[in-house]
Amino acid sequence: MGAALQNLDYFAFVILFCIGLHTLVARPNLLKKLLGLNIMETAVFAFIVTSGMVDGGAAPIVDGTVTGPFASPLPQALILTGIVVAVSISALALALIIEIYRQCGTIEADELKGVG
């Protein structure tokens, strides 16, 4: 139980992840589905950055003014890449939503069912 309490931060991200997943699955509006996806992505990014944190650590900029401990630079670099990937996916999703609206006049999933 003690170990589980230490990982409270991680539990918060799992909850955030589930909120995003629920939005994605349950909301009929395509824009809200996209927002749900973005919440899930944010949860994962926060999880990975937190795993590279050190108690009392400094940002990993080694210019001689601070002497360790430093947070691990690797997760931060990974998540910078991850954010760019997420932005790219969001941009494409928005473009598709615009195109769907132009063609069908709605972006509600239940109204789009009969389109074919």
């Binding site: 994605l24 996916i89 999703a93 939503i97 063609q103 074919g116």
Partner: protein
């Protein structure tokens, strides 16, 4: 160190970035650039595969940083799939000349070729990745370009199908990234070999199982395994035909290769429920075989039929992976390669027919076999091959998987496999019957001509590969043998 390995993926990627600039005014030039870059990739991957045959697997340390500090590229038997990827993409690009001019708006053409090149580079990079995060980045490159390619032809179904595909794909990517994060937190490393080594020393089992489950679920979603296949049929049927060939033949295999690669990471860990995991995979695969084939049987639209046939064939591959003995894994490995060729043949040949006739339901296509003999011949070869008739390429993989089912003491799976083959055969008989033995419904059919040569040549080339792949089956078996040896030995 020879730089062929990184350049195989980097050249088409950089070329893909330059195509829109070069081809802004002249779409012809865009296609020329794309052909040159994919030709280069064929050459590079052929050299790499030859080196693999002579020396065994090899690595490249990107930027000179040794693993695990830098990014390692690794070329092994699974990476050799990149040769098939490059060949099929070259055929698709040749074929795209006349097809895309008619089916895609001229303003979108340079972007279309750019996306195909990015897709090619992404898949080759994915197949050669030796680093977990690098695997993720290239998977995203493949995914983003695939989502857009579905919608490139325009139309309301295409945009919706692309969005559905995007949501499913993005959820699977999030799962994969999360699992990579868990593995990094457990081992402090991202290099696959290093993670595998250090994972054996990790004490707590919970996170390890979570990472295994997350990676498997993510890649299964990408591979459209049966219960999570819902995004596939619409996306593959709504896309332009050359794109369908790429998606159905190659992009779903990204999920399979990912599954193979990441499972290897867990091979050395004791106390994981790997046997139960294999059984789950095998059952899901068996379900997918039957369900996909049944759905295909009831379609009127010929492209939807082919799309459901992909669901069924992914089932075969996953069944082979789940059985996890020597013969079954060999079969799965071979079927990954052969199904790519077969499905590309089918989609391109059907695309030629749709391009010339303008219709895509079986009823309207009656009698097309007499008007377009070569394309219809290619469809027939593809159909016999996907049904798994012996001397064609499709037979070999299924044969090995059936042998594997017997070796595992579960002959029931072999029966499912046979049932699936019969169902597949039934629906392809429907296609062939309509093409050759029924009278045309409308008179326009009588004025249809054979497709132009740039479309016909790639189709016939791939159809020939369907037969050669069966006749020279020793080669792919020899190719996957060492990788199978390692996997089957580890668990």
């Amino acid at each position: 160190m020879s730089a062929w390995l990184p350049l195989a993926a980097c050249v088409p990627l950089v070329a893909g970035a330059l195509v829109p600039a070069v081809g802004r005014r002249r779409p012809q030039l865009a296609q020329g650039c794309a052909l040159a870059a994919s030709g280069w990739t064929v050459l590079a991957t052929a050299r790499l595969t030859r080196r693999l045959f002579m020396e065994g697997p090899f690595s490249y340390a990107m930027g000179g940083w040794a693993a695990p500090w830098g990014i390692e590229l690794r070329f092994d038997a699974w990476s050799a799939a990149s040769l098939f990827i490059a060949l099929i993409m070259l055929a698709v690009l040749v074929y795209s000349g006349p097809y895309a001019r008619a089916a895609i708006e001229p303003r979108r053409l340079p972007w279309y070729y750019s996306l195909l090149l990015l897709n090619l580079g992404g898949m080759v990079g994915f197949a050669c990745a030796g680093d977990l995060f690098n695997l993720f980045v290239f998977m995203e490159l493949v995914s983003v370009s695939s989502y857009a390619l579905v919608a490139v032809g325009g139309g309301r179904i295409a945009a919706l199908a692309a969005f559905k595909y995007l949501l499913a794909g993005a959820v699977s990517s999030v799962l994969v990234l999360f699992s990579v994060g868990v593995l990094h937190a457990l081992t402090g490393s991202l290099n696959m070999a290093d993670v595998a080594l250090r994972l054996a020393a990790v004490e707590s089992r919970g996170p390890v199982v979570l990472a295994l489950a997350g990676l498997s679920a993510g890649f299964m979603l990408k591979a459209a395994l049966f219960p999570v296949h819902l995004w596939l049929p619409d996306a593959h049927a709504a896309a332009p035909c050359p794109v369908s060939a790429v998606l159905s033949g190659l992009v779903v295999k990204v999920g399979i290769i990912g599954l193979l690669r990441t499972n290897a990471v867990f091979a050395g860990v004791d106390g994981l429920p790997m046997a139960a995991f294999g059984q789950v995979l095998a059952w899901l695969g068996a379900l997918a075989i039957v369900a996909g084939a049944l759905f295909a049987l009831f379609q009127q639209d010929i492209k939807l039929m082919l799309a459901y046939s992909t669901v069924s064939n992914i089932g075969y591959i996953v069944l082979g992976l789940g059985l996890a003995n020597h013969a079954a894994l060999t079969g799965a490995g071979i079927h990954v390669l052969n199904h790519a060729i077969i499905k590309a043949t089918l989609f391109l040949a059907v695309g030629a027919i749709i391009h010339q006739t303008g219709s895509r339901t079986l009823r309207e296509l009656r009698g097309v076999g007499r008007m377009m003999p070569w394309s219809a011949l290619a469809v027939s070869i593809g159909a016999l091959s996907v049904a798994g008739l012996p001397p064609t390429a499709g037979f070999l993989g299924k044969w090995y998987i059936a042998l594997g089912a017997f070796a595992a003491g579960q002959p029931g799976f072999a029966a499912v496999l046979l049932l699936g083959a019969l169902l597949i055969f039934a629906y392809y008989i429907r296609i062939l019957n309509a093409f050759y033995f029924r009278a045309p419904v409308d008179d326009n059919m009588r004025s249809v001509h054979e497709a132009p040569l740039p479309m016909l040549l790639p189709v016939l080339f791939l159809a020939a590969l369907c037969i050669l792949g069966g006749l020279f089956g020793r080669w792919p078996v020899a190719l996957v043998a060492p990788a199978v040896e390692r996997l089957a030995g580890g668990g």
